[in-house]
Every structure is written in structure tokens, then in C-alpha cells.
Amino acid sequence: MALLEVKGLTKTFGGLTAINSVDFSMEEHQIVSVIGPNGAGKTTFFNMISGYYPVDSGTITFDGHSLTKLTPEKVAAYRIARTFQNIRLFQNMLVAENILVGFYMNLKAGIGDIILRLPRMRAEERAAYDKVMELLSYVGLAGKEGELAKNLSYGQQRRLEIARALAIAPKLLMLDEPAAGLNPRETEEMKQFILRLRDDMNTTILLIEHDMKLVMGLSDRITVLNYGEKIAEGTPEEIRGNEQVVRAYLGVEEADDEEDGGDAAAGEVLA
């Protein structure tokens, strides 16, 4: 059974159809990418899975549970975590605290335990700090725990955001453009990191990405959106050879004008 299954998902904002009847499914332990030109509805797609917008029509099913009408916190309870295109950390909290917020659901201390600071509450906190330290060294931020999140560099903030997402022990991790703003070397590192992540954390990864090198080298499957519609789906090889995808990326008229040159150019774009 598919881990995540989306059927006929539609979302309109006023007259704009951001997502139009999209079907999508992915298996456990896969890495699946959603690609598409700017404004194709990729982030809207993510936001709908996260429960940010009410679904106009269609269904979202995760691990046998319907997510269609759930609020973001209920979605999180099914262990779906995500990062954001424009990094959204808790800027004025410490690096360690950012991750501790992600442990909220795992911590069981009641308000009485907390007010009296009972030993079991303290033990739980200490255990949580240990896990924070583990996560921080896993993403290469060891020693930064006492810094304010806003004082980290851009690349560090990206990694912290991923660490925070990992704190909820995600079954599905959604990464919204993890390589945005990274140089080629860093992008390659990110690729290796995401591959490692899937195996180390035994999770499933859904990502939005613009960097074709990353997408092609990483994904088990790729879904292509354009103007809110799914135009292609398949393995990286299939996507590379798909004419519709090429047109979407290069613009329809251009592709029409030079049929031959189009493919070559597409080869470059999707290389």
C-alpha cells in the first residue's frame, strides 16, 4: 500500500487554480521529487498535505489515515515533518530549543510535573537534551546548541531546520527546496546527506527542488507539476525523455518553433 496517496486534489485561490485534480502516490522508504517551473503549485501541494489550507476537493491519505480535513498539528501527530523554502526557524530561540519544540509530542510531563519540576520531568528533559545533542551532531551543528537560531549562517540554518523536522521522528519528511541558495559543492553534500538521512532515520522523503542535478541523482521517482496540473510522473530517466516536461521548462512556443533544438536544450536543462 502506498504510504502517501493523493487523489483528485484541487485548490483554487479566487480565480486561480493552484492545484488542479492532482493524483499522486508514493511508497515507503522512497525519495520522491516534485518539480516544475515557478508557480507550478509545488509549495501549495506541500502546504495542503501539511494541513495549511482547507482542501477544495480530493483526498489525502497517509498510512491508511485521511489527512484531508486535518489541522497542521494533527498532521504532525501522524509523523509528517517538513521544512520551508524560505527557512522558518524560531529565530529568537536557541538552536537546542528549536529542536526541543519538535520534541513537544514526545515529552509526556504534565503541568503538575512541570510546576513542581519533579524528578521524572527533569529526567525526561535530560533525555530530550541528549537527543538534541545527537541530532545536532548528526547534522553537523555540534557545539552550536547555545546560540540563537538567527545567529547561524544560512547553511547552518538549513541544517537546523532539517534537524528540527527530524525531531518529530518523521515517517514522511517533506523538504521544500533544501538546496536553494547552496553552491554546487554544498548541493552535492546535501544530496549525500538526504540519501544518508533516508537510511539512518528510516524515513520517506518527499522533496521540492529546482536543482536538476540533485533531483536526478537522488529521486526514485519524480512528479512534474505545471500550472497546477500533473504533467508527468516516472523515474528520472523517463522524466528526462518526456517531451511535455521539456516544453514546460522551456516554454511552449519556443519548443514549437525549434522542435529539434528543443530536445538538445532540454537535455541541458534536465542534465
Binding site: 498539528e73 504532525a76 520551508f84 529568537n92 530561540m93 536557541l94 513537544y104 545533542m133 525531531a167
Partner: protein, 431 residues
């Protein structure tokens, strides 16, 4: 070593981090810390000595010596010197009591405004609910509608009512929160403001058909607290009660702050949507913040009613909410020691400095030395001075006197220097 001007330095008494300048500062502070309490003890009615004494408390907070020593100094000042002075000068005990009361209120409001980032302009309503809860039952007022029981209840009930009023106010906060917390920012602020006015008008008009609150006439006399047959109605008694409540509140709020609940609050302030995506039940956490803050205000309301022996709706106007909000903003939104110092600053200005200046100038006028028209009386410019201070704060210290600083709790584990937390301990005694 770059030090925040109002932050305590490393608690370790480490000569290496001290430059000559630091030694001079340390010396001056030590002189103030030792001399001011002695001065006040020697001259128990001297307002200047009292202000110097309060300043010496700030010095204790900032002193760069080990935490235990600061704690000891604070305990001596607050638990020995102040009660002794208060026993002979009711005025100073009263000022200290009011500082502690507003300290608790500011800590409460800080949970909502500082931690959770929800602007609440109607905090005085919860204070009113607590005050009336005690006032009605600790006066003859309850006879009007209660079918059983003998009223006024004796002052021994005061202690139970601290808890009871906390629950009642907390529940009112919860009820208000249910519909209101869907709103954000300015909308929330306006609704809380409106709610506070509704509560006040309710108390103002709830004398008919059944006389519950006695309307604008207010309720008096109200029983003072008692322990068995001992009446605790001297200013110094209230000081001790309220100091204990302030310390208790500080510990409870700090424990909350350093828990999943406190982190959830700040996460909501920082980015509500992301907090939800991390699994934080935002509505529940906001309701909790609202209720706890309301409960603390309710508890202080009981003390207020007992201390004044009189309550009427005019004590709980919009201005009252604003004054508490000022303390939070002045002290440092989100900073627990900050808001207590904010309360201290506002109350000292209001009850001590301006009043003293006024009476001094009046005495000069009566003596014929100075001919000061009455409209120039400093006490009349209280709001103007507040306004000016707030404007200046916005320009020069937008994060407050003592800005929020986040500190990891389990430091030794994280290889951080054990510092700054000790400041919290010492400053919890500020009052």
C-alpha cells in the same frame, strides 16, 4: 569581556576577567549594598534612604560575585531589613508590597504578552474578578444572595481564597480565551480591551436585581487575612505575604518557562504555523497561557481586596491594564527578572519619587520659599513622565531594561559556563 550593561557577569569570582574598571564598579556597588540598608535601618523614615535601598537591590542583582552570595544578600535585604523597616514605617512596607503585587501581575501578563506574543489589553479584568471573589464573601455583601453560611467569612478563609480566586479567574480567562484566541494581533488586543470593560461594567451594575457587587458604591469593609485569631492587617504583614507569593510565582513561572509548555509558548510567538507543524497544540497552549496569567491576577486581586479593605470598579479601569503592560514593556518583554524590575521602576516612580517630590515642593511653598502653582505639582505629571519614559525606551532600549535572554537549563551537560541563571535566582527577590 563585553558585558551587557545591565546583565550580571559570570558568577565565578575570577580575577582574570576583571579589569581595573570592574574592580572600581564592584567596590562602589559593594559600598551601596552595605551602606544603603544600614542607612535605612538607622533612619527608618527617610525616603531617600528607601530609594537607595531599592537601588542597592539592583546592585545585588548585577554584582559580579558568586550566586550564593547574591542570594544571601538578597535574602538579608528582603527578609530581614525590609520587614524591620516596614514594621516601623508603614509607608515603605506599603510601597514594597505594591511592588511585589505588581511584580506578580507583570509576571502573569508576561506569560501572555512576552512568551506567547498575544497582546492582552484587558488584564485588569482578571485582577478584578479575583478581588471581587474575595470581597463579596469576606464582607457582609454575600448575605444579599447566599442562602446559607455566615458572612463575612473570617480572615482565615483568605488563604483558601487565594487558591479559589486563582481558579475562578483562571476559568474566566479560559472562557474568554475560547472564542477570542482565534483572533490575532490587533484584533485580539481590541477584544481583550472590550472584555475588560464589560467585566468592569458588570461589577458596576450588578447591584440589581440582586445586590451582588454593590455597584459603584463598592464593597467595604473586607476582612483582613488571619492566622487563627491573629489579624494580619499591618502593612508589613501584607509585605511578607506578597513577597512569598512573588517568590512562589517566580519559581512556578520559571519552571513553566523551562519546559515543553514554555518552549511551546515562545514557539507560538516566533512562528505560529511552524509551531503547529511541529505538533504544538496552539489553541490549547494559548488557552493555558491565558488561564495561568488570569489565575495569577486573580490571586493578587484577593490580596488587593484584603489590603485595601475596599473594592470598587474604578480600581480596574483600562488604565490599570495599561500600567501593567507598561511594566512588562519597560522591564523587557519576555524577561522574567526584567518585568519585575519594570514593576519596581513604575511603582517607585509613582508612589515614591513623584509623591516625595510633590510633598517636598508643597512644603517649600507653604514655607514661603517657593511659589509653585499647583498645576506644576509633579504628581500631576505622572502619565506624562510615563509616556516620556516609554518613548525614550522605544528609542534607546526597545527590548526593555533587561532584554529577554534565553539560557539552556542543563548547562554542565552542554559544556556551557554556569552563568546568568544565578541572576534569575537573585533577582527573584527583587522587590
Amino acid at each position: 569581556m563585553a558585558q551587557h550593561p545591565l546583565r550580571p557577569g559570570p558568577a565565578a569570582f575570577d580575577g582574570k576577567t576583571f579589569a581595573v574598571k570592574d574592580w572600581i564598579v564592584l567596590g562602589l556597588m559593594a559600598v551601596v549594598i552595605l551602606a544603603a540598608p544600614l542607612w535605612l535601618m538607622a533612619d527608618k523614615g527617610n525616603s531617600v534612604a528607601f530609594i537607595a535601598f531599592l537601588a542597592s537591590l539592583l546592585c545585588v542583582y548585577r554584582l559580579r560575585v558568586p550566586a550564593w552570595l547574591r542570594l544571601l544578600l538578597a535574602v538579608v535585604d528582603l527578609a530581614v531589613v525590609m520587614p524591620l523597616v516596614g514594621a516601623s514605617s508603614g509607608t515603605f512596607a506599603h510601597v514594597a508590597t505594591v511592588i511585589c503585587m505588581y511584580g506578580v501581575l507583570a509576571l502573569g501578563l508576561n506569560i501572555v504578552v512576552g512568551f506567547t506574543g498575544l497582546l492582552n489589553l484587558g488584564y485588569a479584568a482578571f485582577y478584578a474578578v479575583g478581588a471581587y471573589t474575595y470581597a463579596i464573601f469576606a464582607s457582609t455583601q454575600a448575605r444579599n444572595f447566599m442562602p446559607f453560611g455566615v458572612y463575612p467569612l473570617s480572615g482565615n478563609w483568605f488563604w483558601l481564597f487565594l487558591l479559589l480566586a486563582m481558579l475562578v479567574s483562571g476559568f474566566v480567562g479560559f472562557l474568554l480565551g475560547l472564542p477570542v484566541l482565534r483572533l490575532k494581533g490587533d484584533y485580539l488586543a481590541v477584544v481583550t480591551l472590550g472584555f475588560a470593560e464589560i467585566i468592569r461594567l458588570l461589577f458596576n451594575n450588578l447591584s440589581k436585581p440582586v445586590n451582588i457587587t454593590n455597584g459603584p458604591m463598592g464593597i467595604t469593609p473586607i476582612q483582613p487575612p488571619m492566622i487563627f485569631s491573629l489579624r494580619l492587617d499591618k502593612p508589613v504583614h501584607y509585605y511578607v505575604i506578597v513577597l512569598a507569593l512573588l517568590l512562589l510565582t517566580f519559581v512556578v513561572v520559571r519552571n513553566l518557562q523551562n519546559s515543553r509548555i514554555g518552549r511551546a509558548w515562545v514557539a507560538i510567538r516566533e512562528d505560529e504555523l511552524v509551531a503547529r507543524t511541529m505538533g504544538v497544540p496552539v489553541v490549547r497552549m494559548k488557552l493555558l497561557a491565558f488561564s495561568i496569567a488570569a489565575g495569577l491576577a486573580g490571586m493578587m486581586g484577593v490580596v488587593f481586596a484584603a489590603m485595601q479593605s475596599y473594592v470598587d470598579p474604578t480600581s480596574f479601569t483600562f488604565m490599570e491594564s495599561i500600567v501593567i503592560l507598561c511594566m512588562v514593556i519597560l522591564g523587557g518583554t519576555g524577561s522574567m527578572t526584567g518585568v519585575i524590575i519594570g514593576a519596581l521602576a513604575v511603582i517607585v516612580l509613582q508612589l515614591q519619587i513623584l509623591k516625595d517630590a510633590s510633598s517636598y515642593l508643597t512644603s517649600l511653598t507653604t514655607a514661603g520659599i517657593l511659589n509653585l502653582p499647583s498645576w506644576l505639582n509633579p504628581a500631576k505629571y505622572e502619565r506624562l513622565i510615563f509616556g516620556l519614559i516609554l518613548v525614550l525606551m522605544c528609542i534607546f532600549r526597545p527590548n526593555g531594561l533587561i532584554p529577554e535572554k534565553r539560557v539552556l537549563q542543563i548547562k554542565e551537560k552542554l559544556g556551557l559556563k554556569p552563568k546568568a541563571d544565578a541572576g534569575g535566582n537573585a533577582a527573584s527577590k527583587e522587590g
